[in-house]
Every structure is written in C-alpha cells, then in structure tokens.
Subunit: 212 residues, 2 copies
C-alpha cells in the first residue's frame, strides 16, 4: 500500500476476527520492519513479548480489564521499554559506528559518556523517558508496517502493568508503554468515523510560542 494511504487509513480497530491467525513468521517480519525505527544513540531500548498462545492471551486479557480484543486479536504484543539499554548496548553501538565509518576509533572513549550524559542515571526519570520514547517509535513503526501488509492494530493502555509483569515474567526495571493487538477486522463490523484530531494550526507555532 502507498505510504500516505497507509497513514490515512490506519485506524485503532476494536473488533478483530476471532480465530483468524497471522503466521508467526509474518508477525516476526513486521517486527523486523518496526525494528528499523531510529533510536537515541542507536540504543534500541525495546523488547517484545509476542502472545499467540490462547491460554496466554486469556491470562493477558485478565490483566487488561477483561477487554475481549485481547483474545480476539490474532496476536498481542507486549511492548517493553528497557532503561538499561544504555549499559547493555553502548559498546556494540560504538564498535559498529567505527566499523561503518560513522566515527573514528580515537573518538570512542570520548563518545562513550555521551548517552550517560543525555539520558541520565539508570533509575532516573530521564532514563525512563528515553526508553519509552524509543519504544514508542518502534510501536508506531510496527502499526504502520502491519497496516502496510494488510493487518489492523490497536495500541492499548488499558492494562495493569504490575500484573502483566508478574504474569509474563517481565523484569521489574522494565516499563510497558503499551500493548498492541494485531489481526483482521471482523467482517461484520464497520468502522465508526475517525475520532477528531485538532487542526494543525491549533498545536503548531511558527518559530516559537511567543510569535504563535
């Protein structure tokens, strides 16, 4: 599908065709495309639990205020933000940049401190914001790639994060910015008109707030 058409027709779908699956390899292909999202200092602080097993979907539904779409969707993604990605990935990022000509070996030592300066201490609020921002890039890229391949999605906030962590063995230091339901629109359902968006001029200021 053409890019702008994909963006225009992507909707958050509430009614999925229950029992209609997407092959796991296809979902992994979408995740691979989503994984091309940019990230801060290329640190890629996202992880995913892909829930396809019917019993595990049932368990996830219980953590998500019993919303039917959790079981009806072909699969559920638990999108996870990892504040520890700085420590985990910084050396790999720098080595890759040197190898590919982005920077000189001699600058590695100096640059290594940059993400710690920009994104703060591991347990800090700035570090959480860093992780969530980039996981959200990944999530948006996923929703567009899925739509581009003919699937529907729904980003979900309605869940108890502590319960999801306990149920799926997700470490305590992670943040779960959202779940994503992915599947096929139920054939008997028509989409309601898209919910309102503000006019661009309502939130866009030219060259600064004062001049807006």
């Amino acid at each position: 599908m053409e890019t702008l058409e994909t963006i225009k027709t992507r909707r958050s779908v509430n009614y999925f065709e229950s029992g209609k699956q997407i092959p796991v390899d296809k979902i992994k292909e979408i995740i691979g495309l989503a994984n091309l999202a940019p990230s801060s200092f290329n640190l890629q602080p996202w992880e995913v639990v892909l829930v396809t097993d019917p019993e595990r979907k049932k368990a996830l539904r219980k953590c998500a205020f019993n919303q039917p779409k959790v079981e009806e969707a072909s699969a559920m993604l638990i999108v996870i933000a990892n504040p520890g990605a700085v420590e985990e990935n910084v050396d790999r990022v720098l080595a890759d940049w040197v190898k590919k000509g982005y920077m000189k070996e001699a600058d590695v030592e100096k640059q290594r401190g940059t993400p710690f300066g920009l994104y703060g201490e591991r347990a800090s609020e700035t570090r959480k914001i860093f992780a969530v921002k980039n996981a959200a890039f990944f999530a948006m890229n996923f929703m567009i790639a899925a739509k581009g391949m003919g699937y529907e999605t729904h980003p979900m906030d309605g869940f108890n994060a502590a319960e999801v962590k306990r149920e799926f063995g997700i470490p305590d230091d992670r943040i779960i910015p959202l779940l994503i339901a992915v599947g096929h629109l139920r054939p008997d359902q028509k989409l309601l008109p898209r919910a309102f968006r503000r006019d661009v001029d309502d939130f866009l200021r030219m060259n600064g707030y004062a001049k807006g």
Copy 2:
C-alpha cells in the same frame, strides 16, 4: 512510495542540502498526516514549534551543541509533549466519542475519570511518560510521512532542553522528547551503511520471558 519500501529506506540523514527549502504548506501537510497517529484516550498530547526562519534556526543550533544540520535542514521541528493534555482535551474527546457513536452519553461521567486513573496526577512521572509516548508516535508518523513524500529526516536528542524552552518561549511544564530535522539529502553525500539492528530473536520472547 510503497509503505514497506518507505520503512526500509528511511534513514537518519546527517547532511542536508543547505538553502533548499520545503514550502511551509508542504510541511504542514506532513504534520497533518503525522497528526493521524493514535494517542492514549485520543488526548493528542503533542505540540510543535516549526522553525524555518534562518535567525531562529541559528538560535536553535546554539541550543543543540552547534550541530550544523540544524541550520542546513530546510526546517526544524521542536516536538513537544504536553502532560496537561488530559485536563485540556478530555471533555472534547468524550463529546466527540458520544457524537460519533463510540459511547453513550450516560457513560461520560463514569469514563471521565479513566485517563486520570491511567495517567496519574498532572506532575507525576506516569503523566510525563504518557505525554512522551504519544508525542513519539506523532514523531515517528511524521518521519515516515516525510519519507513517503520524498523528504529526509533526522530525530535529534543532542540539545539542551532548558535552553530550547527559554529561547522559544516553551512553557516549563512541557517536555521536549526530540527535535526533527527535515529536508533534502545533500547531493554530494552518500549514506553510510545502516547502523546495526539487533536480530528480532534477540529481543522477542514468545508468550513470556520465562519461555523465551
């Protein structure tokens, strides 16, 4: 451009063709497409300062560790996350949902508390995370829409947020998750090979961490 092709070829470009402009109406069109991003409870907690004026770009460059691309790009977006969007937009969201058949008028009173429950008090960390997550959806959608229309982008973290706020009159309670440079690739520059991404199997777990 085809959606998956757009996702595959979108890169963070460091060298923009200086002096080559994008008409402001065209940038607004991209922002309008980005604005179709989904958001938590449809609260749309994003704002944008669009910087096109050469003097203002120069001022922004000073807040961004003097990076040349701030002046070389056709335009800069200051992407802003507004934690106060819950209070500002909740009534408009609910009225729109009632009007379009998403919910009954009788449920408005009950539903009004939901986003306050999910996203916490106005000054809380959860509220900041809510705002940043959704502003990042908007930003990713913008980068894809821009690429789909033939433009290049670069999401930037290298700036001093306090200086940007002061220089552009941005209220203190806002968060600036990133700047985005948008423009045309400088013709004399070839892109280096894309920086590494982890294999999907390195960050994807099937049905839970324990079973991963």
